[in-house]
């Protein structure tokens, strides 16, 4: 088994011990980045999340130089059991105060449980399942960047409203795919559309042509892709080959990252509608941040997961700074919910009592190749979904924290 990739020193670790001790009121905090450092999702999160966390630490040091931040990283290899073991070791033996990211839903649910048991904090960015702030919520977990409900609501509703009222799903046959399909079907039906059928295929299916034929013969206007990563890329690539879009049907990618668009190429991905909560080319602040990110990750385009890690670590450090303690995870989470969020990437916002971070979501359309002016110029903005509409209403989640 691969061991933890190794401790990664943060910006402030460079400070000499003596100098640190000499300063009165110096406080230490240790953050563990738990991410897919070597697998399928390493471009979506991966090494970039460590860079993002370091940038947040560097920025917070400008506000409060007395807080000493150390960042370590662990690779759960996308497995829940390994994730739980890493988190337990961090929280029990290595003095880690908070874990951030969590590359997939299974990993995130496992770490969330450990954080609650050990009374530490877990701030999720990479994982999608809306259960983290719904039926499986707890007082030690905060879900920052996006979730399945928000994806379904953003893309699903927009597509139905623009005439895409009959759907056929290509679903990844595991918990995440089912959740995304369930949430999207609900949105489609609530908005007057109907679901004509679905095909559920195993994770890492390399050939979608048979499912695409099925979808083609269903005559549905929209083929919804309730899958992620390599599955989504293969499905879109082959849909182009089978002339799905030319035949009058449209694709709706329910979870598409900018890295996936890069892998597809605009020629294939053009016209695809998708929802994200952050895009590197959204505004001046996001472009400036991307420039800093690319100093450490040359040529790589940051995703909303990286942005989420940056913003959530920054907010976490603010809460710890005000509280002057990081040991009680529940107290820090409460502080994070109490103070409003404000960062250059997601703007002003707040964290709800169920742990859901609230910010606007954006409906994008992938540009045609001739519209793209420079590398990474992928999206045009079709609509902005305001923060209060982008995420599941507090009362609908079934989170136990809401009632109490």
């Amino acid at each position: 088994m691969k061991k933890i990739v190794g401790a990664v020193a943060a910006a402030t670790v460079a400070l000499a011990w003596s100098a640190a001790f000499a300063q009165s009121g110096t406080q230490k905090v240790k953050i563990g980045v738990i991410s897919d450092l070597s697998g399928l999702y390493q471009d979506i999160g991966g090494p970039g999340t460590i860079v993002a966390a370091k940038l947040a630490a560097a920025d917070y040091a400008k506000i409060n130089p007395n807080l000493q931040v150390e960042i370590v990283a662990g690779d759960p290899q996308n497995k829940a059991d390994i994730a739980a073991a890493i988190a337990t070791k961090w929280f029990e033996n290595e003095g880690v105060d908070a874990a951030v990211d969590g590359p997939n839903s299974a990993v995130a649910l496992a770490v969330s449980q450990v954080a609650a048991n050990k009374n530490k904090l877990f701030v999720v960015s990479g994982a999608a399942t809306s259960d983290l702030t719904g039926s499986k919520c707890n007082a030690n977990t905060i879900h920052w960047t996006y979730d399945t409900w928000m994806l379904a609501n953003g893309t699903g509703r927009a597509v139905v409203k623009t005439g895409g009222d009959s759907w056929f799903f290509l679903t990844a046959d595991y918990a995440f795919g089912h959740a995304l399909e369930r949430d999207t079907s609900a949105v489609v039906e609530a908005n007057g559309g109907k679901v004509l059928g679905k095909v559920r295929l195993p994770l890492n299916t390399h050939d979608f042509s048979s499912a695409l034929l099925h979808a083609q013969s269903s005559k549905a206007k929209i083929i919804g892709l309730a899958n992620a990563g390599g599955d989504t890329i293969n499905a879109i690539k082959q849909a182009a080959e089978f002339g799905i879009v030319k035949g009058g049907q449209n694709l709706a990618g329910l979870l598409v990252f900018s890295t996936d668009v890069k892998a597809l190429g605009l020629q294939v991905a053009q016209g695809l509608v998708l929802t994200e909560t952050w895009y590197w080319d959204l505004n001046d602040a996001s472009r400036a941040w991307t420039k800093r990110y690319q100093e450490a990750m040359p040529g790589k385009i940051p995703t909303m997961v990286h942005a989420g890690v940056y913003a959530s670590v920054l907010h976490y450090l603010k809460a710890v700074g005000e509280l002057k303690s990081s040991s009680d995870g529940r107290a820090v989470a409460e502080k994070m919910k109490a103070i409003p969020t404000d960062d250059p990437l997601f703007g002003k916002g707040m964290i709800r009592v169920d742990g859901r971070k609230i910010h606007p979501a954006y409906l994008f359309e992938v540009k045609k190749p001739e519209e793209s002016k420079y590398p990474g110029d992928f999206y045009k903005l079709r609509a902005t979904i305001p923060a209060e509409e982008a995420f599941r209403p507090l009362k609908d989640g079934g989170c136990s924290l809401v009632r109490s």
């Binding site: 690539k237 080959e241 002339g243 890069k262 892998a263």
Partner: protein
């Protein structure tokens, strides 16, 4: 239009054809494995990585030198084949006298190293590669829309598969090769350079994998893990066909593609397991595989 088991015949014909297309990839890849195992007695676990190298070679040729799909179809297998020859000369040739396990471990390790290096440089999300413009579009066959590129995949794979079978089973060169695996000392006594022949055979098997990789690049995601996704199925195909049997690998490749295609009609959730169920049944009834000798 009539129905078979409640499935419209249209859909069924479509799925059969698609199964045949996927079978083309299985056949191409398992053919390379069968050639290498038959001639070298090496279980080439690096085959998936070499398939990935073929796809990446096509991508890099396009990115760095502007060489398109058609030249890449020739050049990429040659480049990757040469890499294979280097691997054989520097590493594999020391293992022929040892247990199969050593070759398996070495090639498995190589596959991990190659994949890891590519993941480090190119990330995991993949690279774009377009269908060549001369094969873009498709034809409506009445029961399904057949992209021209897929039709080309079937044709090319049939030509390459049966060409290889013909050379090995029906020509003088092939008879030398087969003789050399049976009794290398005797063949050498006739003045034939057996080690060189073995080296070239490995290079050829690897080139076949790279050829399949280039064929796959326009329709599958070109990513470092593309080989490990498909190679397990291909190994099952080789086991079902009978290790080392050339014709067995080709026929099982195509027929398992069809079996998988049919599963996707009736019960798509099981499409990734059906091949292994067949493998279990075959191993229980015919342990040497359907076409295996021994």
């Amino acid at each position: 239009m009539f129905e078979i088991f409640g499935i419209p015949s249209q859909a069924l014909f479509g799925q059969l054809l698609i199964g045949l297309i996927n079978g083309s990839f299985y056949a191409l890849l398992s053919l390379g494995l069968a050639v290498i195992f038959g001639m070298l007695n090496i279980i080439n676990f690096a085959h998936g990585a070499q398939y990935m190298l073929g796809a990446f070679a096509a991508y890099l040729l396009l990115q760095l030198t502007g060489i398109g799909y058609w030249p890449a179809l020739i050049l990429a297998p040659i480049i990757v084949g040469i890499i294979g020859i280097v691997i054989e000369r520097t590493m594999l040739q020391w293992l022929y006298k040892l247990d199969h396990l050593y070759g398996l471990l070495l090639t498995f390790g190589l596959a991990l190293v190659i994949e890891g290096v590519f993941r480090n440089y190119y990330g995991s999300s993949g690279q774009p590669y377009q269908v060549p413009s001369s094969l873009a579009g498709g034809h409506n066959l009445g029961f399904m829309f057949l992209p021209n590129y897929r039709a080309w995949v079937i044709v090319a794979s049939l030509i390459v598969c049966f060409g290889t079978w013909f050379v090995i089973e029906k020509t003088r060169l092939g008879s030398y090769l087969r003789a050399a695996t049976e009794n290398p000392t005797l063949v050498r006594a006739f003045g034939i350079n057996v080690p060189r022949m073995i080296t070239l055979t490995y290079g050829f098997g690897v080139a076949l994998a790279a050829f399949a990789g280039v064929m796959a690049a326009p329709i599958y995601n070109v990513s470092p893990q593309m080989g490990s996704d498909i190679i397990i199925v291909v190994f099952a195909v080789v086991v079902i066909g009978g290790m080392g049997s050339i014709m067995g690998a080709i026929l099982t490749g195509f027929s398992l593609g069809i079996a998988e295609g049919l599963t996707k009609v009736f019960f798509p959730e099981a499409s990734s397991t059906v091949i292994f169920v067949i493998m279990a049944i075959v191993l229980l009834t015919r342990p040497a595989g359907l076409f295996g000798r021994g």
